[in-house]
């Protein structure tokens, strides 16, 4: 199975929900669409499913155009499957009937349907509940029914629309892993829509970060976090500090410290101001000496505020020469009081230049 979206756009009235979306999905790949609500990710998913026509661009599956502004192959002919935000478990059918319905539509023999339903219910641990009605199930169990129902038909592509957003936090974490496990087990290509970055990081091979209908960046989770290319991505994936640097004779000057342009991957002749992202946990807080060692940057500052979050400390440190305090995360045993003078130790390699 291959899926290619070329210049796909979708407008509702005069409002553009998706703008020039390009993506090629690899065989068996799990790609998630990540972004704040209203960024166009669900619209994109519904276009892939065939529920919505694009207003520009095409969607191709295995080299054949399945969606264009002129004509859209109806969803029922795409051999895909989907998990909906509301789960969309049919309340008038039992668990087994829900799961078997897709197989029934594919005209399988009833014995075969029964065999495959029982098998998949075993996989999602719902075998004991096969004759229950959805109203008698918990949210997590309904979620599993939805999973089983969409996987049992062995779809060419599985679409997931915020599948975990209605679950409580613990269950959500469990189900993330479950979805990834099912993906690895059945090798189904998946497009996964979510607004939860942790969910996307845990489940995905690649993440498409979207904002206001446009793609901001497509990358693997690690790359996305370590090398955000836009200010939006840097701010949306994890927390970060933005610093503005001006090229000067002694390097790019950030006010509290300066870095050689080469260390930032910039050309030596860099003239324009640059913005870099610096993750809170990439900063170390030291007491005492401010002298820099082996290419690292150091700057003096004062702890303004601190919060203890159990797993780590969250400090706000105002460095001399900066107007805004930096967010700094340290391990739980590195304690500084508010008002303490500290030295911030920064590895220039952790500074990521963004557009």
């Amino acid at each position: 199975m291959s899926l290619v979206l070329r210049h796909v756009s979708r407008a509702f009235g005069g409002v553009t929900a998706v703008d020039d979306f390009n993506l090629a999905l690899e065989e068996g790949e799990l790609v998630s669409l990540l972004g704040p609500s209203g960024c166009g990710k669900t619209t994109t998913l519904r276009m892939i499913a065939g529920f919505l026509a694009p207003t520009a661009g095409t969607i191709e599956m295995d080299g054949e155009v399945i969606s264009s502004p002129e004509s859209v192959l109806p969803p029922e002919r795409r051999r895909m499957s989907m998990i909906f935000q509301s789960y969309a478990i049919w309340p008038n059918m039992t668990v087994a009937e829900n799961v078997g319905f897709g197989l029934e539509l594919r005209k399988l023999a009833s014995g075969e349907i029964r065999r495959r339903v029982d098998e998949i219910l075993g996989v999602v641990q719902l075998g004991a509940l096969r004759d229950r009605y959805p109203a008698e199930l918990s949210g997590g169990q309904q979620q599993r029914v939805a999973l089983a129902r969409s996987i049992v038909v062995k779809p060419s592509l599985l679409l997931l629309d915020e599948p975990l957003s209605n679950l409580d936090a613990n269950l959500r974490e469990e189900m993330r892993l479950e979805i990834r496990r099912l993906h690895d087990e059945f090798k189904i290509a998946m497009v996964y829509v979510t607004h939860d970055q942790a969910e996307a990081m845990v489940t995905s091979d690649r993440i498409v970060v979207m904002d206001k209908g446009r793609i901001e960046q497509i990358d693997a989770p690690f790359e996305l976090y370590a090398r955000p290319r836009t200010r939006f991505v840097a701010g949306f994936i994890g927390r970060t500090n933005f610093l503005e640097g001006k090229p000067a004779a002694h390097g790019v000057d950030f006010g509290a410290f300066a870095v050689a342009p080469e260390a930032l991957g910039l050309e030596a002749r860099q003239r324009d101001a640059v913005v870099v992202s610096l993750r809170p946990q990439s900063i170390q807080l030291l007491r005492g000496e401010a002298a820099a060692a082996d290419g690292r940057c150091r700057a003096r500052g004062v702890v303004q505020r601190r919060s203890y979050l159990g797993e780590y400390w969250d400090y706000q440190v105002l460095l001399h020469g900066l107007a805004e305090p930096l967010r700094v995360s340290t391990r739980a045993h590195e304690v500084h009081e508010a008002g303490d003078a500290v030295v911030a130790d920064i590895d220039p390699a952790q500074l990521t230049v963004i557009r």
């Binding site: 090629a24 004509s71 109806p74 909906f84 969309a88 049919w90 539509l105 594919r106």
Partner: protein, 582 residues
């Protein structure tokens, strides 16, 4: 396939072919198209024909002669005036009847609320023309029970009451329309919280002052809306005026329209004469909508808040007296005399045991072919009409709600489906007559014209119900079917319909009930072989066989009660109210 989407995007995609368009086409579109065609046939064509016919000579050429004929005779204009008087007086009397009852039941500690509730529900169940029959038995000029009682009490040689008069007609009309005022006012009062009245009390206003300056203004839009509704109901009514005004030798618009249809039917003149009725109805419904949906009255849109019943003290007895009086006029008295007549060998002989018999009912239901057939027809036509109305309403509601035809076309469809709500039954019937009395769509004389007219008339009830229940079904339930390989029709058949079973049954009953008692459109469209009970009841009224009339009426009431009980069982006790809300 390229790993880099940017590179993939650069290559041009294949172009669109006709083959692809056919491959992608929605093969279930014919269902929606049939529904739209049916809608045109049921709603648009009759109205269009009504308009056309009003400007046509018998040979088909254009003329305004129909309008001249309709509005040039004093007698015809007088009938218009009578309708106006009837509407305004009935509306006013309904306020006098209904508002105290609504206040008593909504806001006070008056005893006997349950009894009043039941009798108001009972009043709803009696078809207005049956009420008229009851009142003929009560206040007919000589033999009416009230007149006989008055003679016996005062020793006068003639009773004071004559139901065959404008006041009589107003009274009977009001008796069977005041439940609308009651419902409107009560639901408005239910939303005025005691806190609002407390606020006025704390500022020094007494109970009366509070009522005048706070409560009344808050429910005023509902009162006006109800008044308009009763007015429209009264001027569109055919049964009661036909039973009371014709013997009283005066006409209202509806009876005059009926007279235009006496052989040879003057359809063009009737159509022209029906125009004011249609226009006034459309206009006033619009006004009524505006009044009751106005946003300015926060109390009527917001949540109720706490409500305490007003302590009436000794005043509860006069209030209860008034409530009982109204219910006696509308429910107890007519029902008693109708039951008596239905079960009497001769109703004039009174309430003696040896006067009791089941012969009338047996005769009506089993022995007389005419009434027996009419009973069967009543069930059959109402059932068929309800089925058609519910199916059509359901399809339209689905198409509109799921935006299968675009929002604008959907809006038009929705409007057309609701349109019969503002068309008086009698006007709709004339439209049907004008549209379907000649080839290629010759339906007149067949059962179909009645069935389709009933279906059209009560389509809005079915639509309001279907739309509400379809809105309650999450579209993703259908999306889930489709993405797994089912067509839209499969989704409807396997998921939507099973989920809607109960509410569709409810809609069916809500159309079936008025279908069994519909008179005003049936009277223009029936033929000898397609009589229904309501028509028969009206037809037999000038024979003076009140035992038979009462039996027919009783059969109708029993049918209605049975249907309502089924509805209660199936859907819970509020299913009747949803209709009023819609």
């Amino acid at each position: 396939m390229s790993a880099r989407p940017e590179a993939a995007a650069l290559a041009p995609g294949p172009s669109v072919s006709l083959r692809r368009r056919w491959r992608d086409a929605d093969k279930s579109a014919w269902v929606w198209l049939v529904a739209i065609a049916l809608l045109l046939l049921l709603v648009v064509n009759p109205l269009l024909r009504l308009l056309v016919v009003s400007f046509q000579q018998p040979d088909g050429s254009f003329t305004v002669a129909n309008y001249v004929a309709a509005y040039s005779r004093a007698r015809y204009l007088e009938a218009l005036g009578h309708s106006l008087v009837l509407g305004v007086s009935a509306g006013t009397l309904c306020l006098v009847f209904g508002v105290p009852l609504a206040w008593a039941l909504s806001r006070t500690d008056m005893p006997g609320k349950g009894l009043i509730w039941v009798s108001i529900l009972g009043t709803f169940i009696i078809p207005p023309y049956l009420g008229a029959v009851g009142w003929i038995l009560l206040a007919g000029p000589n033999a009416g029970w009230l007149n006989r009682a008055a003679v016996a009490l005062t020793g006068a040689d003639k009773g004071p009451f004559n139901i065959y008069s404008m006041p009589g007609l107003v009274l009977v009309t009001a008796c069977y329309s005041f439940p609308y005022v009651f419902m409107f006012t009560k639901s408005a009062l239910d939303l005025v919280s005691s806190e609002m009245e407390d606020a006025a009390n704390i500022l020094g206003a007494g109970t009366l002052r509070t009522m005048r300056s706070v409560t009344l203004p808050l429910v005023l839009p509902a009162l006006l809306g109800a008044f308009i509704l009763v007015f429209l109901e009264a001027i569109a009514l055919f049964g009661s005026p036909a039973l009371l005004a014709l013997p009283g030798r005066f006409h209202v618009v509806t009876t005059q329209l009926w007279q235009f249809f006496e052989y040879p039917p003057k359809v063009g003149v009737a159509a022209a004469y029906a125009m004011p009725l249609l226009c006034v109805t459309v206009l006033l419904f619009w006004v009524q909508r505006r009044l009751t949906s106005r946003k300015g009255y926060v109390a009527l849109t917001g949540k109720g808040g706490e409500r305490r019943p007003v302590q009436l003290g000794a005043w509860k007895w006069p209030l209860l007296g008034w409530c009982l009086f109204v219910c006696t006029l509308s429910f107890f008295l007519p029902m008693v005399v109708i039951c008596q007549a239905a079960l009497a060998k001769a109703w004039g002989r009174g309430f003696a045991l040896d006067n009791l018999t089941l012969a009338n009912l047996r005769f009506t239901l089993f022995e007389n072919t005419l009434t027996r057939n009419a009973t069967i027809h009543t069930f059959l036509y109402a059932g068929a009409a309800a089925l058609i109305a519910v199916l059509l309403a359901m399809v339209v509601a689905y198409v509109v709600n799921r935006e299968l035809v675009g929002r604008r076309v959907g809006g038009v469809l929705s409007f057309l489906t609701m349109a019969p709500f503002v068309i008086p039954g009698i006007v709709l019937a004339i439209g049907f007559y004008a549209a379907y009395t000649h080839a290629p769509l010759l339906l007149y004389g067949t059962a179909w014209i009645l069935i389709l007219a009933f279906a059209t008339r009560f389509l809005p009830i079915a639509y309001a119900n279907s739309a509400a229940s379809i809105r309650s079904i999450h579209p993703e339930l259908e999306d889930a079917v489709r993405i797994l390989g089912g067509t839209r029709l499969t989704a409807v058949r396997r998921v939507v319909l099973p989920l809607l079973k109960r509410s569709l049954a409810g809609a069916f009953i809500l159309v079936f009930i008025p279908g069994t008692r519909e008179l005003s459109s049936a009277i223009f469209l029936y033929s000898i072989n397609t009589q229904v009970l309501s028509v028969l009841l009206f037809d037999k009224s000038d024979e003076g066989n009140f035992e038979m009339l009462a039996s027919i009426g009783l059969v109708l009431v029993v049918i209605t009660v049975a249907l309502i009980l089924v509805g209660f069982r199936l859907l819970g006790r509020d299913f009747m109210l949803r209709r009023t809300a819609a």
